[in-house]
Symmetry: C2
Subunit: 405 residues, 2 copies
């Protein structure tokens, strides 16, 4: 049986980044990856610019730090100075305004006093050349690459792109993720379960996990454990970049999913991984798609199995398709309380992970196994216990799967 690391490597071998698309730049592309080099279409600032409110002066006039100068003009941001500053003169200037010809420093307004309508008195340290001035092209020069292909779009990148006039850019799009729940024993949330039924918690959970991973989730509905129910829904799911099924993959007699997937041209890459919960997890690829290979995951129906398998295998695939660091985010943490655990396979146990001065600390939370989603609602991570009977003492170092908050 594959280890988790081997299985993750097999998933990533089959991930090719999605083709870039021209997308409008706004909050909807936050977190996506730029797929082109973007150059400046102008010098920024386009002129020598005052960085403070004050007076534009000639350094030579204020060599001792004190001077009385005649104010010839006032310039605000958005205006253009009309007059050069000659010896003995100054221009009242606002933050962001262009520096007048002749001036070579700005004295901040707090160091000045208007002594009559036309004259200002300066009392300051001697100014340095270029003081409080941002020189033309200091931020960027025309044709310079200001953001390179591969940059992740955060608020500052969206600000920069607007600054150079971009409202559309080539971007790696978000992966489309189809979610399909399966099982005769399942009813949807609005329905009352019969005596041998349970409600579908996995559908809403996996939709939310897909969205949190950066994908665009689409819910396909609930398939029954019959070929005529599974076939059309799986066929619809193969239109997406990623198809995530829950249920129908363990070794039970009615677990029909792998057979239907094979019939529809999905090639199995693995089916079973040495882990707990989640051992029956299935991964396959569909290469007949006109849009390129799509990726198919069959997750066990127990909610915590489905959640953990999504974080370990599906999330890295979604992020890889989008050109992002696939993760998963594994950290080494120090156990804060003794814990005894016995397991035949490496086990992902719900835990609370906190960052403290000195590093990550982790504490396992009470949990009774793969159906127990309430244990996971009290957690923000999974501590990994290796196979075997172990007594872990406070202070032990363990690997932890951190889950996005």
């Amino acid at each position: 049986m594959l280890s988790v690391k081997e299985a993750q490597a097999k998933v990533l071998e089959n991930v090719r980044p999605l083709r870039a698309q021209p997308l409008g730049l706004g909050p909807a592309v936050l977190g996506l990856v730029l797929a082109e080099d973007v150059t400046a279409d102008l010098d920024m600032p386009p002129y020598d610019k005052s960085m403070m409110d004050g007076y534009a002066v000639r350094v030579a006039d204020v060599a001792l730090g004190r001077a009385e100068l005649r104010v010839i003009e006032e310039v605000s941001a958005g205006q253009t100075p009309r007059l050069p500053v000659e010896p003995g003169q100054a221009t009242r200037i606002m933050t962001g305004a262009p520096l007048p010809v002749g001036a070579d420093a700005v004295v901040i307004v707090e160091r000045t006093k208007v002594i009559d309508g036309g004259t200002v008195r300066i009392e300051d340290k001697p100014p340095s050349l270029g003081q409080n001035i941002l020189r033309r092209g200091r931020e960027m020069r025309v044709d310079e690459v200001i953001l390179a292909r591969g940059a992740r779009l955060r608020p500052q990148e969206l600000g920069l792109l607007a600054t150079v006039g971009r409202v559309i850019a080539q971007i790696q799009p978000a992966a489309r993720v189809a979610v399909l729940s399966t099982g005769d024993e399942i009813v949807e949330a609005p329905d009352k379960p019969g005596p041998s039924q349970i409600r579908n918690g996995n559908g809403p959970m996996l939709m939310a996990q897909a969205a949190r991973a950066g994908g665009i989730p689409k819910y396909l509905g609930l398939a029954r454990d019959r070929l005529d129910s599974l076939r059309p829904l799986i066929t619809a799911g193969l239109e997406a970049d990623v198809l995530v099924l829950s249920g129908g993959v363990s070794a039970g007699k009615l677990d029909l999913v792998p057979g239907v997937l094979a019939e529809l041209g999905v090639e199995a890459v693995f089916h079973k991984v040495a882990m707990k919960p989640g051992k029956p997890v299935f991964f396959g690829t569909h290469t007949h798609s006109p849009k390129g290979t799509n990726l198919v995951f069959g997750l066990p129906g127990n909610p915590v199995s489905a959640l953990v398998c999504f974080e370990l295998f599906v999330r890295p695939a979604i992020r890889g398709l989008m050109g992002l660091d696939p993760g998963p985010n594994i950290v080494t943490a120090i156990l804060t309380e003794d814990f005894t655990y016995r397991t035949d396979r490496p086990t992902y146990h719900p835990a609370v992970l906190v960052s403290e001065k000195g590093g990550w600390k982790v504490r396992a939370v009470p949990w009774f196994g793969s159906p127990d989603l309430r244990g996971v609602a009290a957690a923000n991570a999974f501590v990994v216990f290796p196979a075997g009977d172990h007594v872990y003492h406070a202070g032990a170092e363990l690997e932890v799967l951190a889950v996005e908050d």
Copy 2:
């Protein structure tokens, strides 16, 4: 002048969580806060349930670990057993299926062998009572609170809510955040700036920051430095929970924003904070709103000032309105490279923050001041340098403002 911490406290004093609303449960409510206690409407599991594929047996029949039992029935998840298991009998059972009356353990299928169509041979350790069985009500009992008011909605919480039949719940809604850019020197991204103009990078950046903080951003447009332009746009902005303006708040002659805000009934709480960049930041409240107090922030127009002030003051307000931990996320990190810095106010300097074994590490990046958004595009945090002339050596501990990725 207020310190950053004092100013943050004044913001939070004026934040009242938004009124809860009934919202549909789906990916759109991810990260929001539940505003009611949710109880189970059923026992989960609703019956004693097999946790494995195998055979439901009577422990007494397999006391030595070996037995040959007559298979009387087969039960899958979603089905109900019809026959009780009598001594000498077993029922083939699938994961998730209800346990038949009489059985008190499940032996996994891997430890069994069908020796003819009607008989199974078991070779295992002696089973323990209840082995591989999840007892009725072990996950939750009817009327038990399974998720309490205040829970943050993550995928596992959405799964749990579906499990108890919820498709709508009382939730603290996302804050509506209006963004207004101001300034005569600004043109929008699609336009070519004239000789003394620059493009509006702050609008798209602040929209993205509002979305990243969890708010619902709305762009109001660009106001000119004139009363007849500012008034109607600010009036429109006061419809939102939070109004964020950029530009127009420093001490320059044309900085009209505080005056218009006062005229429209916004009460100033502070105007200026001892920090760099961002000193002229304005915060006020508008109590005449029919929906309750709304919060108004005037951010300086320089892009990095606007970005830092948003993270330090606006983001905590948005999160507080939504019932979330307001932050900001300040960590103590160890400087990895010597750095010399001279500043007259506590300065937020762009930096790269990484989590390593042993804790947070930080490195300042090259940066020339508040207009330099490119420096911030190379960063994921701001290291805080206290006022004064300082030489910091590698190994020094400094506070760092971590910015959401």
